[in-house]
């Protein structure tokens, strides 16, 4: 605490106010106090940011269920013979806005995934000779076997489309977004 009557301000050269230049005597800014206020303003900005993050979390909680929840229709994709011949067939499931890929990884081994890359929703392209699905936008790759990301920015696997084979026809029966 400063004694009564003493100038409480600190100046850069540590000399009292009477020895300061005229312009500083005319505008005797309290340098540390000024610095203090600027930092307090920054903390206020951080708290405002904290409020924005909390609002974002609440919006996510109130936004309702994730997209693509059941019940799902049973939709015909192709015959098993067609899938084995073409090795990759595009289809839409569970609605017209959700492009998917059905793949044949070998005789009788069929898998299907949502075609939107889990990074920024570009369409992935099958490269079955390399055993992967490639996203050309940011060079992301997913393994064809399980749809899990193996390279690039995607962190979540591709959504899995559940399949059923009946009487030589491949059907889509479910759509499952995944986190791991």
């Amino acid at each position: 605490m400063n004694p009564p009557g003493e100038d409480p301000r600190d100046y850069p050269d540590r000399r009292p106010l009477a020895d300061q230049r005229h312009w500083r005597q005319d505008f005797p800014t309290d340098v540390p106090e000024d610095d203090h206020v600027a930092r307090r303003e920054f903390v206020k900005f951080l708290v405002l940011t904290s409020g924005a993050f909390a609002a974002g979390q609440c919006w996510l909680a109130l936004a309702g269920p994730s997209p693509a929840r059941g019940p799902f229709p049973r939709t015909r994709i192709a015959t098993a013979a067609e899938l084995e011949e073409q090795r990759a067939i595009e289809f839409r499931y569970p609605d017209e806005h959700e492009p998917c890929l059905a793949l044949c990884l070998g005789p009788g081994r069929y898998v299907a995934y949502g075609q939107k890359c889990s990074h920024l929703a570009c369409a992935v392209v099958p490269h079955l000779d390399r055993g992967e699905l490639h996203c050309p936008c940011h060079n992301g790759s997913f393994e064809a076997e399980g749809g899990r990301p193996v390279a690039g920015p995607p962190r979540r696997p591709l959504p899995l489309v559940r399949l059923e084979v009946a009487d030589g026809v491949v059907y889509a029966t479910g759509f499952q977004p995944r986190t791991i």
Partner: protein
């Protein structure tokens, strides 16, 4: 009655509060990123708990800011 603190003491307390607030904001950012990832992956089990944690961080930040304003008003 407001505490009597030296400028140096105030400065130390200020830096401490600032570090805690900054840490909480980074924690909230991570929480929001992880929750969005889970939500888009179809997992809604963590969404409400994460929102509660984030609101808790905000409440703590507001309390710290209030303490900071009080501290600034304290006499040297």
């Amino acid at each position: 009655m407001r505490p009597i603190l030296t400028r140096r003491q105030k400065d130390t307390i200020f830096v401490g509060i600032f570090c805690v607030v900054a840490l909480l904001v980074v924690l909230q950012l991570w929480l929001l990123t992880a929750t969005t990832n889970a939500y888009l992956g179809g997992d809604r089990s963590v969404v409400w708990r994460a929102a509660g944690a984030s609101v808790g961080c905000l409440a703590l930040n507001l309390w710290l800011l209030r303490r900071l304003v009080y501290l600034q008003g304290a006499r040297d």
